[in-house]
């Protein structure tokens, strides 16, 4: 906080510059600040706490920080809730750079829940010294003596926990950023740790590093597009603040229109890349496959949520009034995304890749809701993100437990007959798959309904998208049922494949995810109402 820079002083000094001093609303920022603070403490833990107690310290600290942040957030939301308007907005936390309004609170809370579940799965040790999913030493060459030595010496990359926290902070800021610069920086804050986490898998290190490289190069490529788009929009409106851009659109004459549309699309490229929309999706299968499985689950759930939150904000706060210029193209993207995601998942033979393609298809379904241009669309999208995320984290946590000779057995053929030997695990997984397929009585159905319904009402384009969406879901049903049949009705060929017994942490994550998948399918009203009351963006 810079209290010394008073407004009068600045105004007197620089008449030509429109400067306003920074005002921090610490209360509104507190959850993010807690997460960032704990992350920094985590870095210090890395430096000062001896190896023996480092794991416990990091995991405890991280979980405590996340829970504290969540509680603060709940307090924040409850304090500003009124009976009629639902979640009241809090206003710009820092001069409009960070907007804490209904959607922001809702999405931040969800990210924290995802983060808690994600950290629970990441911290799984399975009897080892450090987290089982992560390499003992990131810098050691895969398969080298150094690596074996590190394993014996009991070293671990406990840095993953502070890194995760930094990513979480970035994710929380991403959908609440009020200007494109803050959005860009949050994008990087959430991406950089994820690039690193992707490359730290314990097993199949080469694939993991490859995933990291691909993610990084394509991510940097896409954020360059985002930035160029921001530059064009800045040129268009003279500001990077979303409300300023929105204000410029109606009065902007045709002479600058040439900047607006390319600017919007280039910004969209950066955001659509993060959600994995076709044709910006190609990183998803490779990265999801290569990353450590708990990271994949966390990433799939939380990044998608944060990025869709940012899309919602850009669309509804910034560029909605120009929507006739850009929404047809994005509708095409949505249709392509659903079709390509669904069709490609048919021929996948690796569970993680299959879920990755399914995640692409889901991004398409969610985009349909975004394009409804309606408050119910916003709440539908938010509901979809919550239910998809919870299901995804649980599903990837289960994938991480199915092992053959200590390594994850991700090839589909290895899952044959799993239902006979591990009925509970396979049953839960089958249920989660049904949720992905959108079968009624699972959250997947309610969620699909919540995004398709506003789209149907929005007009002809919406109807076309919904029809394509239904056809695509029909294709994906085949894919998921195939796995279920494989688990229950084929004879196992490989007795070496077994489900390892997880610790209580992973069990909590899986149970919570699966239970919520059921609850949100049978009794979605509460969350639907919450998301509806939190769907008003502050402009």
């Amino acid at each position: 906080m810079i209290p010394a820079l008073g407004a009068q002083y600045l105004g007197a000094q620089l008449p030509g510059v429109d400067l306003v001093p920074a005002t921090f609303n610490y209360a509104a920022l507190s959850p993010i600040l807690v997460v960032l603070g704990v992350a920094t403490v985590g870095v210090l833990v890395e430096a000062f706490v001896p190896l023996r107690s480092r794991y416990a310290a990091q995991v405890g600290l991280t979980l405590a920080g996340l829970v504290a942040a969540f509680l603060l957030l709940v307090l924040l939301a409850v304090n500003h809730q009124t009976a009629t308007a639902g979640l009241k907005v809090l206003g710009g936390a820092v001069l409009g750079s960070v907007i804490i309004d209904g959607p922001a609170l809702f999405l931040q809370g969800t990210i924290l829940v995802f983060a808690i579940l994600g950290v629970l799965t990441m911290a799984e040790r399975l009897g080892g010294v450090g987290a089982d999913a992560f390499t003992p030493m990131g810098s050691a060459t895969p398969g080298s003596g150094q690596e074996a030595l590190a394993l014996r010496a009991g070293s671990m990359t406990s840095e993953v926990f502070p890194l995760t926290l930094f990513a979480v902070a970035g994710m929380m800021l991403f959908p609440s950023a009020g200007d494109l610069l803050t959005m860009f920086i949050s994008l990087e804050v959430l991406s950089l740790p994820l690039y690193l986490l992707t490359g730290l898998a314990r097993r199949r290190r080469l694939i993991s590093q490859e995933a990291s490289l691909k993610y990084f190069l394509l991510g940097a490529f896409s954020s360059a597009f985002f930035l160029f788009g921001t530059a064009l929009l800045y040129g268009y409106s003279g500001s990077v603040y979303l409300p300023d851009i929105a204000a410029a659109i109606p009065q902007g004459g045709s002479e600058l229109n040439g900047l607006l549309v390319p600017g919007v699309f280039l910004v969209a490229v950066g955001l659509l890349f993060k959600v994995g929309a076709v044709p910006f999706h190609s990183w998803i299968p490779d990265v999801y496959q290569g990353a450590p499985t708990p990271v994949t689950g966390f990433m799939a759930a939380a990044t998608k949520l944060a990025a869709f939150g940012a899309i919602l904000r850009v669309v509804y706060v910034g560029i909605e009034s120009a929507r006739w210029q850009w929404s047809p193209a994005i509708a095409v993207v949505a249709i392509l995304t659903m079709v390509v995601g669904a069709v490609l998942s048919v021929t996948q033979t690796d569970v993680k890749r299959l879920l990755a393609y399914s995640s692409i298809a889901h991004a398409g379904f969610i985009l349909v809701g975004v394009l409804a241009f309606d408050r119910t669309g916003v709440s539908g999208v938010m509901f979809y993100l919550v239910s998809y995320g919870l299901t995804t984290i649980a599903a990837f946590a289960i994938v991480g437990l199915v092992r053959a000779d200590g390594a994850e057995a991700t090839h589909l053929s290895q899952w044959a007959g799993l239902g006979r030997r591990h009925p509970w695990t396979a049953g839960t997984f089958a249920f989660l798959l049904l949720a992905f397929a959108g079968i009624p009585l699972t959250s997947g159905f309610t969620a699909k309904f919540a995004v398709f319904e506003p789209a149907l009402r929005s007009g002809a384009t919406g109807t076309i998208m919904v029809v394509v969406g239904l056809l695509a879901s029909a294709v994906t049903v085949f894919v998921y049922v195939r796995i279920i049949v494989l688990m229950y009705f084929t004879d196992s060929q490989n007795d070496a494949v077994a489900v390892v017994t997880p610790s209580v942490m992973t069990t909590i994550a899986i149970t919570f995810g699966a239970a919520m998948t059921l609850v949100l399918g049978v009794w979605p009203t509460e969350l639907l109402q919450l998301s509806a009351s939190a769907s008003q963006f502050l402009r």
């Binding site: 308007a85 206003g91 710009g92 409009g96 907007i99 490289l213 691909k214 394509l218 490529f221 597009f225 549309v261 699309f265 490229v269 076709v278 910006f280 190609s282 990183w283 909605e320 850009w326 047809p328 193209a329 993207v333 069709v343 490609l344 048919v346 021929t347 033979t349 309606d374 408050r375 119910t376 916003v378 709440s379 509901f383 053929s413 044959a416 079968i439 009624p440 009585l441 309610t446 309904f449 919540a450 319904e453 506003p454 149907l456 009402r457 029909a474 085949f478 049922v481 195939r482 049949v485 494989l486 229950y488 009705f489 060929q493 009794w523 979605p524 009203t525 509806a532 008003q536 402009r539």
Partner: protein
């Protein structure tokens, strides 16, 4: 600087609640307010048995049976209280909870308790509970008995949810629930791969049907904005015939899947792989009739679309003949009964498609059929119980003396299905035949004759089954020494059902305005005497039917009692062979309709990557082909990925530029 704007369109508040539509359904009160117990009791049983695990092994089956009876008692009380009210007040609506609340779409979960649903409730809970009792004996030595009872309870709960739901969506939940329970029970002995495959076949045929149902619901939603019965009924009055036809046809597709009607009939025979009580309950008495319920429940839609109605009648007529022909050639006792079920449901479907004339008869036949068919299936189970699980009728014969009770109860069912007066079938089936002859032009002749001829064939194959099993010489295999009568837990339910087969028809159907008709009156609003006259005099039809039935039964007596029944099936002529092969329904389906489905099944169980190639044909081929081709774009080179991205950017920007 910041203002709370509402530029995204006003937030749509809650709109009219479901169930408060124009149809006069009073809010449930008294015992009716506890109708949720109908579903809750068996659901609780399933939950206890599944969650409780092995601890409930000892008392679980008994508990499940008691809870099922509890459900029956609740149903009975509701019916009694309903009977005490005036016609107009009989339909009650019970609001359960606010279910889905998405923007402008509000749907509450609730139960619609009207005479139609309560008729089903009584059938399901009564037959279901009897079969619970029967299973106590039948499954006594099965190690997984507890799971079996849990699934049975689950089935009863789902089926009751299906018939008491107040909206298509909640009905769909029950619909899927019975599908799940059926799948679990068919594959109950899934250690045997053939049984597991059968379960899968049923699963897939049902999914095709479900797709139809869900599409129908989507159309309804799109058309009316609601999916509860009240609003749909109200909306159907003003909807365009085209939309109603679309809804009707998709509903029919759903009904065909669940009720094993042409062309989705092939799974029912294979479903006999499940334990026999399951076949009796699910695949004869209750679940397979859900399609009929759906069509009757949606009568407002079908009445608005003569085309859809005609298709229903055609499907019913085809299936009733189809099932009858197949039934003539089957040597597997259960499969013959399954074919008969298919055929009888064809009768109901036909009746339901005839319009207001036929609804009551469809439901009437459904109820009587539920009794006598369940009774016969239990009889079949009893025979299998005594004969080391044999099902080949050519190795039965002369069981009358050793299984007297089974023989006697089975005979009641046999007489009932034949339509011999005064047994139950006489009252219901002959009415359908009569109704089929009502109308103008070619229709009464085609459909009436189909129903009439069907009755004759039915008499033949059912008598064949009865005689081959219980009469004639013993043709038992060597390993069977002492066939024995089943224990009381099994025979008592059989006796109860046999009693029903005898008297139920007369109770419900006697008189000018029968009991059932006046009971269902508030639902359909039919008054007696409005149905018109058949093209042939009713008495002549009755006589013709009886003659055909006698002829059929006589032929069977000549061939299977007087003549010697060969232990190995004779080669037979082309027709027999075709019938034996289910009239090549699998082949036909595979070639024309089910081909994608079959290939799906195959690829569903693939275990290696090459399995995918095997799936490459039919509809799936399109998707899989596209998938294989698209896959090549994912070549692993990061530069290619970047290329895709840049191409996307350039194409979008270029396209937008061109548009402007």
């Amino acid at each position: 600087m910041h203002t709370l704007t509402n530029g995204l369109g006003a937030y749509a508040g809650p709109v009219a609640l479901a169930g408060e539509g124009p149809v006069t359904a009073v809010t449930a009160s008294g015992i009716t307010a506890y109708a949720w117990l109908l579903v809750a009791l068996p659901a609780l049983g399933a939950a206890i048995l599944l969650v409780g695990g092995k601890r409930t092994n000892a008392f679980g089956p008994l508990l499940a049976t008691l809870l099922s009876w509890g459900s029956f008692v609740v149903g009975l009380l509701v019916v009694i209280s309903m009977a005490g009210r005036a016609d107009a007040d009989r339909a009650a609506h019970l609001h359960l909870f606010s279910w889905i609340n998405v923007g402008s779409f509000n749907l509450d979960a609730g139960q619609r308790l009207d005479p139609l649903s309560m008729a089903f409730v009584l059938l399901i809970t009564f037959v279901g509970s009897l079969i619970h009792v029967y299973s106590l004996g039948y499954m006594k030595d099965d190690p997984d008995k507890r799971k079996f009872f849990a699934y049975l309870n689950l089935f009863v709960a789902a089926m009751l949810l299906l018939v008491t739901a107040d909206s298509y969506l909640l009905l769909y939940v029950g619909w899927e629930g019975v599908g799940l329970a059926s799948w679990l029970l068919i594959g109950f002995w899934n250690d045997n791969p053939a049984y597991a495959t059968a379960a899968n076949k049923a699963f897939i045929a049902n999914r095709v049907g479900d797709l139809g149902l869900s599409v129908a619901i989507m159309i309804m939603f799109f058309q009316f904005g609601h999916v509860d019965f009240a609003s749909v009924d109200a909306g159907a009055a003003n909807a365009s015939p085209g939309a109603l036809t679309a809804m009707g046809l998709f509903l029919l597709l759903g009904a065909c899947g669940k009720s094993a009607q042409f062309p989705l009939q092939s799974w029912l025979g294979d479903a006999m792989a499940g334990p026999t009580p399951v076949s009796a309950l699910i695949h004869a008495a209750t679940m397979v009739t859900a399609g009929v319920y759906l069509v009757v429940r949606s009568h407002a839609i079908f009445e608005g679309s003569p085309t859809a109605q005609l298709v229903v009648v055609i499907v019913g007529a085809i299936t009733l003949l189809f099932g009858a022909v197949v039934g003539c050639a089957k040597d597997d006792m259960k499969k013959a009964l399954a074919a008969s079920t298919m055929s009888q449901i064809g009768y109901m479907m036909l009746a339901a498609g005839l319009g207001p004339v036929g609804y009551v008869f469809a439901i009437f036949h459904l109820l009587t059929h539920g009794f006598f068919k369940a009774g016969m299936f239990l009889g079949a189970g009893s025979v299998m119980h005594g004969m080391n699980d044999q099902v080949n009728m050519r190795r039965f014969g002369g069981l009358r003396t050793v299984m007297t009770i089974t023989w006697a109860t089975f005979m009641m069912g046999w007489l009932a299905i034949l339509g011999v007066p005064p047994f139950a079938g006489y009252w219901s089936k002959d009415k359908i035949i009569e109704a089929a002859f009502i109308g103008e032009g070619w229709r009464p002749w085609v459909f009436g004759l189909a129903a009439l001829i069907g009755a004759g064939i039915t008499a033949f194959y059912m008598s064949r089954l009865f005689f081959m099993t219980f009469h004639g010489k013993k043709r038992w295999t060597e390993d069977i020494h002492h066939p024995h009568e089943s224990p009381l837990t099994m025979t008592i339910p059989m006796m109860v059902l046999a009693f029903g087969s005898v008297v139920l028809g007369a109770i419900l159907g006697f008189g000018q305005t029968s009991l059932l008709q006046s009971w269902l009156n508030p639902v359909f609003g039919i008054t007696a005497g409005t149905e018109g006259e058949p093209v042939l005099p009713a008495n002549l039809l009755l006589g013709l039917t009886l003659v055909l039935v006698l002829a059929g039964a006589g032929l069977a007596w000549v061939r299977y009692v007087r003549d010697v029944v060969p232990e190995i099936a004779p080669h037979g002529n082309l027709v027999t062979q075709a019938a034996r092969n289910d009239l090549y329904q699998d082949a036909v389906n595979e070639g024309a309709l089910m081909r994608p489905g079959i290939h799906l099944t195959r690829s569903l169980v693939f275990t290696d990557t090459r399995g995918i190639d095997g799936a490459a044909s039919g509809l799936g081929a399109l998707v899989i082909g596209a998938s294989t081709r698209l896959r090549k774009l994912q070549n692993g080179y990061v530069r290619s990925y970047a290329l895709t991205m840049l191409a996307g950017v350039v194409i979008i920007l270029g396209a937008v530029w061109v548009m402007q």
